[in-house]
């Protein structure tokens, strides 16, 4: 832990091999993020962890989840400019899906929602897409609502790298990109997913849901009712990886 870089003017020590996001979280400094999960390799899709790097006269932005920590980096994260960019990213995600929080059973336990209120997002602002993807209720114990998916691929990674089942995948391109179930029928009931799978625990939003347990937690006692996501993320931060970084059951 001899090396360090600067984050918002403070020295952050790091272990070689850590990314800027990992080092910041380990040091108790929060950088907003959605698709990063401490047990998996960085993904880089949500872009919420984007920071500004100053080196000499030039400035550029980079996703801190994939940016290797290096000595002498000067990083700006918690500034009005960067947080405004993050707000726009969260707004894009809200406008892209059907995030009807008032009737979603993940409300209060949802990372997207918690990040929204933490950043002060008042409206999606953009024209809403209102996607129309049928729910998959085929499985006796599990429900999938694809209209809330933010394409973080955490379920894909968890199912492939930890559960070794590869139940999920992303399909399509551009705005039509969407989460699919890896079964000939496309139905969750025709996979070997189980309630105890890692893939069941990692969805940051309300896509992968266990049936018959919704709305059990009283309002006020849900995860993000207690403390904002900025505080919770630090509890989760330094942790050994459970993902193998590659799929062990398929050729991917």
């Amino acid at each position: 832990m001899s090396e360090s870089f600067q984050l918002d003017g403070e020295d952050i020590p790091y272990t070689p091999g850590q990314t800027v996001l990992q080092a910041a979280l380990s040091a108790g400094r929060y950088i907003p993020h959605l698709c990063y999960h401490p047990e998996f390799k960085p993904h880089g899709s949500c872009k919420v962890c984007t920071v500004k790097i100053a080196s000499g006269k030039s400035q550029r932005t980079a996703a801190s989840c994939t940016l290797p920590a290096q000595p002498g980096l000067e990083i700006e994260s918690d500034s009005d400019e960067m947080n405004e960019l993050r707000r726009t990213l969260v707004q894009m995600l809200f406008a892209e899906g059907n995030h009807f929080c008032p009737s979603c059973e993940k409300s209060g336990n949802c990372a997207l929602q918690a990040l929204g209120s933490d950043l002060g997002v008042m409206t999606a602002g953009f024209r809403h897409f209102y996607p129309d993807r049928p729910v998959d209720a085929s499985h006796p114990d599990i429900l999938l609502d694809f209209n809330r998916c933010i394409l973080c691929e955490l379920c894909v990674r968890a199912s492939c790298e930890v559960d070794e089942k590869c139940v999920f995948a992303l399909s399509g391109r551009g705005i039509t990109k969407h989460l699919v179930v890896n079964a000939a029928s496309g139905q969750l009931a025709d996979t070997d997913i189980a309630l105890i799978d890692k893939a069941m625990q990692v969805c940051p939003v309300g896509v992968i849901l266990t049936k018959r347990v919704g709305f059990a937690e009283p309002i006020g006692e849900r995860r993000y009712d207690q403390r904002p996501i900025s505080a919770q993320a630090l509890d989760d931060a330094p942790r050994a990886a459970t993902g193998k970084g590659r799929c062990t059951s398929c050729e991917e």
């Binding site: 008032p102 009737s103 929602q113 209120s117 933490d118 008042m122 999606a124």
Partner: protein, 183 residues
């Protein structure tokens, strides 16, 4: 000589494709309503008998846009209110009523007014008095410019109170994370 009476801030409110829950949440400021009424007077509102919105300082609109009359009322508010506020999840995002956006409007009407099992000789209402529904539900900002958004289903009384007191004292309304809820 008595001090000249200060001109009161004029507020209009309306519910479009709303459930009146945001208005109920406004009433949840309880006795603070008396303090509010010393500073403001209400123009068109479900709480007054005024039929059309006149020139106002603030327009509070709950509910999304689901039919032709909603569009007329919203435009009347925009034309008359200096500051137009989208109040609640429906006005901000379309809300739960926008869950009908993935259904065909014809199928909805058919189901409710014609094929519903308890109906006898049902028919889809066709009197021109009735506003035609739009094929989709929209949030306010897709129809007019909106100055402020207050999320929440409904926004809490404390949220509405903070917002209004900020606005009435001339500050830019600013809600902390604890007052920003989407559910």
């Amino acid at each position: 000589m008595p001090a000249p009476e200060q001109k009161k801030i004029r507020i209009a409110t309306t519910s479009l494709a709303g459930c009146f829950g945001c208005h109920m949440s406004l009433l949840d400021i309880d006795e603070r309503l008396f303090a509010l009424l010393e500073q403001v007077e209400f123009d068109r509102s479900p709480l007054t008998d005024i039929k059309h919105c006149g020139p106002c300082d603030i327009g509070l609109v709950e509910g999304g846009i689901c039919n032709a009359e909603n569009v007329h009322v919203l435009r009347e508010f925009r034309n008359n209110c200096k500051i137009l506020v989208a109040v609640g999840a429906c006005a901000v995002t379309g809300g739960l009523p926008a869950q009908r956006n993935h259904l065909s409007l014809a199928d909805c009407l058919q189901e409710v007014y014609v094929t519903e099992i308890s109906l006898h000789n049902g028919m889809i209402p066709n009197d021109p008095e009735l506003p035609l529904p739009l094929d989709k539900v929209h949030p306010l900002h897709e129809v007019v410019k909106v100055d402020y958004f207050i999320p929440g289903c409904p926004p809490s009384a404390d949220t509405l109170w903070k917002f209004l007191t900020d606005l009435l004292t001339g500050r830019t309304p600013k809600l902390g994370a604890d007052l920003i809820r989407y559910d």
